[in-house]
């Protein structure tokens, strides 16, 4: 029980500290000010996050981090998702956990931003790749790096292991594509770019990032639903609060069920992910189960939220659309629902269901 109490206390602390960055009442002024501009996030906030220990959340205490677990990290991701936070914390914190000690300090203090660059094809979780690291030089092309324009360096997967590549190194090119949430994906091209070999594996990072992203989706769908419920309770048409119309009530209930399923599914995946004696395939299957549900549910909830808002939901000015845009981005990131259903089928033996 002592462990459980410590865990509960940690989660409470995470929630409290998140309130420093994420406005409690869903104030989106900061989000709107940053969106559609590069790098799309705020270095001052970034250093604040570092001070709160978030970037080192998954880094062992001995290595200068907070040494907290997956559950704490996911709770933070949930809060950040609810707040539509543009900072690529999930990515940076996981990359930080892979960096050797000599690179850690400026990263953990928030002065240097290192983002992972592993993806080469859309809707893929495959860390295998065509990029090469030969003689300290990296050649290859990486896509879909969230907020990559804000990185000082990239932790790059190659067929020859990980490499740390500075953004301003010779042979490095960066192009960006804006995304609906106001951020961007970066495409990184490296031609004989100097890269320092790093002895670590990207695969666990991708898994954990997928799970954390599922939590961000959970946070945002909860918030979007809460905003929608408020609207149903205040908007009057035909002389009645629209939330009194049975068809809308039932629709809201179905959304609530999707959110409840998501939370249960995600919490179960965290419990699996923490069981290091559980087979790796089974833990990954649980993550796929969670991400598939979260991706689908977040889209269902935010789409319906627009509909339940009526015309005002279609304005860019009103809050609710921001949640749909963010859901579009995160639902597809680290594999969309279809990909994770496929992966679940491949990974989960049928007998486990009984």
């Amino acid at each position: 029980m002592e462990l459980a109490e410590e865990r509960a206390e940690n989660l409470r602390l995470i929630r409290d500290s998140a309130a420093a960055i994420v406005p409690a009442q869903g104030d989106t002024r900061r989000i709107r000010a940053l969106r559609f501009n590069e790098p799309g996030f705020d270095r001052t906030v970034w250093r604040q996050m570092a001070e709160l220990g978030w970037i080192g959340l998954r880094v062992p205490e001995a290595a200068g981090g907070s040494g907290l677990g997956i559950a704490e990290f996911c709770t933070l991701a949930e809060m950040l998702g609810a707040g539509l936070t543009p900072e690529p914390l999930t990515e940076a914190a996981l990359a930080a956990a892979l960096l050797p000690a000599e690179h850690a300090a400026p990263v953990l203090s928030g002065t240097r931003i290192v983002l992972p660059a592993w993806q080469e094809a859309p809707n893929s979780l495959d860390a295998a790749c065509a990029s090469r690291l030969i003689g300290g030089r990296v050649t290859g092309r990486k896509s879909f790096i969230p907020m990559g324009a804000g990185a000082d360096a990239f932790l790059v997967t190659t067929a020859d292991g990980l490499a740390l590549v500075a953004a301003d190194a010779p042979g490095v090119g960066l192009a960006t594509t804006k995304t609906q949430d106001g951020g961007h994906y970066a495409t990184l091209t490296m031609t004989e770019a100097p890269g320092q070999p790093i002895d670590a594996s990207m695969a666990p990072l991708i898994e954990e990032a997928a799970l954390a992203t599922a939590y961000s989706l959970l946070g945002l769908m909860e918030r979007a639903f809460a905003i929608t419920l408020d609207y149903l309770k205040t908007r009057v048409q035909f002389g009645r609060k629209i939330g009194s119309f049975q068809a809308l009530q039932h629709r809201a209930v179905d959304l609530r069920i999707q959110i409840a399923l998501s939370r249960a599914s995600l919490d179960a995946a965290v419990a699996c992910a923490e069981q290091t004696d559980m087979p790796w395939a089974a833990r990954r299957a649980a993550i796929s189960q969670a991400k598939a549900r979260a991706s689908d549910a977040a889209m269902t909830v935010t789409r319906a939220a627009i509909q339940l808002h009526g015309g005002i939901g279609y304005t860019d000015e009103y809050e609710i659309g921001l949640y749909l845009r963010k859901a579009m981005v995160l639902a597809a990131r680290y594999g969309n629902a279809a990909l994770h259903r496929d992966r679940f089928r491949a990974l989960a033996p049928e007998d486990d269901d009984v």
């Binding site: 309770k233 049975q246 809201a252 919490d267 598939a292 679940f344």
Partner: protein, 385 residues
């Protein structure tokens, strides 16, 4: 009161589960495993008697009344093990409804008379709640009981009386004050099924089973001593009884057992490897996996000693609609076989149409899913009425 049985309340969860599992495996009649339909008394009384002899018939009753005195957490483990082994549901209205009712609201005399007879299997109970015009709107019930000296005289009709043809007692909600508002003026009466004036007519359901009955009351006389609790206060007692049932209705069991039929059927039909089938199959599998996760999160709350609120109805909605989606796929996959009356090729495991029809009422009984959604909208989401 029967002699006290072994006290299992002190076991830790792992040992308790093991004890329960071992005994079930050793004692459950193999021919009754995973019955395709609700069993009649004649079929499953052997199991009732075994549980009775073991002292395990009434997990939730206090030990002082002959029950096992289990915590909610232990009851859930017991339920899980019974479901895991595919045990038939017994004629359990006495156990889960009448017993708890009498323990809480009955007189000493009622407890002394009725509880041992439930434990022994001498009294098999059925439940007289629903009426033809009081289904979803149960409070609209019209069966009335009029005082006549030391008796009540009952007239009216109940319907959906589960296994009434097997029961020798019925617990009834009746209207005892016609002038009161809907939910008031309702009382709880215990009535022997052999009382003159009671007629039972089985209802044949879509799957051609006779699990339910209509029960007619024509000037049926019962002593006032058969009133439970105060007159006109039956409604709140009845509502309170439904607590545990709500998580029971959300158990993944029905969906899981239907889901388990998909693979053998698909293999038989030669579509198991088909990508489209696999896609739908996996989506349902995940729907079921997430149902399990959600069910466990409610069960955890019970284990922690919490009382479940109306949000537990989410389980019932998702479970029953998933059950139907699974059986929809069974029927589609079976082609022409999906419309056959009997299991396919005599193989009880391949019974797509039967399961499809059995799944139909799941969204209707126990409070229709429309009613459940109304309740969640009002009482969980706090939406305006």
């Amino acid at each position: 009161m029967p002699a006290p049985h072994e006290d299992l309340t002190g076991l830790d969860d792992v040992r308790f589960r093991r004890t329960v599992r071992d005994w079930i495996e050793a004692n459950y009649p193999p021919e009754l495993r995973n019955p395709p339909k609700r069993l009649h008394w004649a079929e499953n009384k052997v199991w009732y008697y075994k549980l009775s002899a073991q002292g395990w018939l009434c997990p939730g009753w206090p030990r002082a009344f002959g029950g096992m005195g289990l915590s909610a957490a232990q009851q859930l483990i017991m339920l899980e093990e019974l479901e895991r082994h595919g045990c038939a549901r017994t004629n359990d209205h006495g156990i889960v409804m009448v017993g708890p009712l009498l323990i809480q609201h009955g007189t000493k005399a009622q407890q002394d008379y009725f509880l041992p007879r439930i434990l022994s299997g001498e009294h098999i109970w059925c439940q007289g709640y629903s009426e033809p015009n009081a289904g979803s709107d149960l409070a609209a019930l019209r069966t009335e009981a009029v005082e006549d000296g030391e008796f009540y005289v009952i007239n009216g009709q109940k319907t959906w009386t589960t296994l009434a043809q097997d029961a020798n007692w019925i617990f009834l909600l009746v209207r005892t004050d016609k002038t009161a508002k809907k939910q008031e003026g309702i009382s709880f009466l215990l009535v022997p099924m052999d009382s003159p004036g009671i007629t039972v007519r089985p209802i044949v359901t879509l799957d051609l089973h006779d699990e339910f009955c209509e029960t007619f009351f024509d000037n049926v006389r019962v002593p006032k001593a058969n009133l439970v609790g105060a007159a006109n206060k039956g409604w709140s007692m009845a509502k309170a009884l439904l607590g545990f049932e709500r998580i029971y209705l959300g158990s993944p069991k029905l969906s899981a057992s239907a889901f388990a039929r998909l693979r053998p059927l698909a293999e038989r039909m030669g579509v198991w490897e088909d990508a489209r089938f696999q896609d739908r199959y996996t989506a349902l599998r995940l729907d079921l996996a997430d149902l399990r996760a959600l069910y466990q999160s409610f069960a955890d709350r019970l284990r922690r000693g919490e009382t479940l609120g109306p949000d537990v109805s989410m389980l019932k909605i998702w479970q029953t609609e998933l059950f139907q989606r699974i059986t929809d796929l069974l029927v589609e996959t079976a082609g022409e076989h999906g419309a056959e009356l009997e299991p396919m090729e005599g193989n009880r495991a391949l019974n797509p149409a039967g399961l499809f029809l059995q799944a139909r009422p799941a969204t209707i009984y126990g409070g229709s899913n429309e009613i459940q959604r109304n309740i969640i909208a009002r009482n969980v989401l706090d939406l305006p009425g």
